[in-house]
């Protein structure tokens, strides 16, 4: 999948969050890394059509994304989005959370939607959780159900916004395992993450964002073994300091 960012800028009430972001690469899995507050989540939301950039253009496989409500509605249906936490509808059970987009955004019949959801639940070992409400599920289960909901609609691209940052290491592994499996099935993903191990091993390319723009990007092996820029070098030194 080819993603082209052309001078993307975003500011909130005069505060610049992204400045002249340019990127043009083909990949099947991309990890966005960088210090907190650098604009990673904002960029992911712009790619997902949840935020409109102040300026600039986004192309997915050379097709321009039109930031107008009507076009965005159908664009968002082609993208899966996983939130950092609390990403499920609180008033619906796990199963209903997965079937709702199938029924109401994709006009699938209820029976077919339940069948599709049940298959995913079985595949990812969530059969027991189908009838539970989000408040009755562990953080890891919530994240896996979010991913199940996102992939149930067969998106061309799955976006994940720090999907494990609210989880303890054991649950993190559970979520990353599921993600790794989906990536090896050929699902295109962009993940904002602080899990350097996952970024290095499971992601084809890395984008490093600092101070509101892309400082460096490239194949993950190269980024980790041979960082070019000073900000990336010091970032990696910091985050890998206590790495075993």
């Amino acid at each position: 999948m080819q993603i082209t960012l052309n001078n993307i800028c975003k500011s909130f009430a005069g505060k610049v969050v992204l400045a002249n972001v340019c990127f043009d690469e083909a990949f099947s899995s991309l990890a966005i890394v960088g210090p907190s507050g650098a604009g990673k989540s904002t960029l992911l939301r712009i790619i997902g059509g949840l935020l409109t950039p102040t300026a600039g253009e986004l192309y997915i496989d050379a097709a321009k994304v039109i930031y107008e409500e009507k076009q965005l509605l159908s664009y968002r249906r082609t993208i899966g989005f996983v939130f950092q936490s609390k990403g499920l509808f609180e008033h619906l059970t796990a199963l209903e959370n997965v079937t709702l987009p199938l029924i109401h955004s994709f006009d699938m019949t209820t029976d077919k939607a339940i069948e599709t959801a049940a298959q995913l639940f079985t595949r990812f070992g969530l059969e027991e959780e189908g009838h539970k409400y989000p408040s009755q599920l562990s953080g890891g289960q919530q994240q896996r159900i979010q991913i199940a909901r996102a992939v149930a609609v067969k998106p061309k691209l799955l976006l994940l916004d720090e999907p494990t940052s609210a989880l303890d290491p054991e649950l993190t592994a559970e979520v990353l395992d599921m993600l790794g499996e989906l990536q090896s099935d050929g699902l295109n993903t962009i993940i904002v993450t602080h899990e350097m191990g996952f970024a290095k091993k499971a992601c084809e390319k890395i984008m490093f964002i600092a101070d509101n723009t892309i400082v460096e990007s490239g194949p993950s092996a190269q980024i980790f073994s041979n960082p070019q820029s000073q900000p990336l070098q010091s970032f990696l030194n910091k985050v890998l300091e206590w790495h075993v």
Partner: protein
Amino acid sequence: MIPMVTTTSTPSKRTKIMSALIVALIIVSFLWLSMFLIGYKLDFATLLPFKQRLWQGFSATLIISVMSLLISLFIGAMTAIGQKSKVLVISYLAQAYVQIIRGTPLLVQIYFFFYIVGTAWGITNRNVAGALILSIFEGAYISEIIRGGLESIDRQQYEIAKAIGLSPAKTSRLVTFPILMSRILPALSGQFASIIKDSSLLSVIAVNELTQNTQEISSQNFRMFENYFFLGLLYFAMSFTVSMITRWLERVYKHADNT
């Protein structure tokens, strides 16, 4: 099998009935004792000759309350949305409505709306005017209940709806409405009961509702205690029914999050 084991978690039907009977007994004995102490003997047979008028008053109160419930819900919903409007004139208008109505007594509003506004705009039917005045009054409180409910919904719920490609209309129907209902139904239930009770104040503009009719009956039979005791009972029957219906609705909209 030891029955005690099965009754430890949730009380059995028998325990429930027994407990309810004991509570009923306590209330009835308290009332009876109070009556006994002041040496008054209640005789409800004195109400019998007036059953036609009582029934007429009861149905008038019922109709006015149901009408007001529907209209005030509509006014409340509109002004709750209006308060959040980006058009400042609409927002200020809705806020002014809520503040003025909630800040003045119903009695003042009844006189003002009936004798000044009603006369000026030709609304002379007392029942219609009564129902409208009550709706305007209760609408302000319902508006605040709905506004509070809307503001309590986590913004991210809307972002999820957006992300899965749900249209704005479907978001309102499938996300906002059910979450809102589960949050505001208890408060709404109390407000609905208030509508029924507040309708008694409409007697000051001689709407032939239950309280007005009871006052008239009292001036004929002079049995104040029986009349007002029975009046209270009828109001309770109505508000208790409303309370039961909203409890049922609460169960419909209940999800694990608010248990």
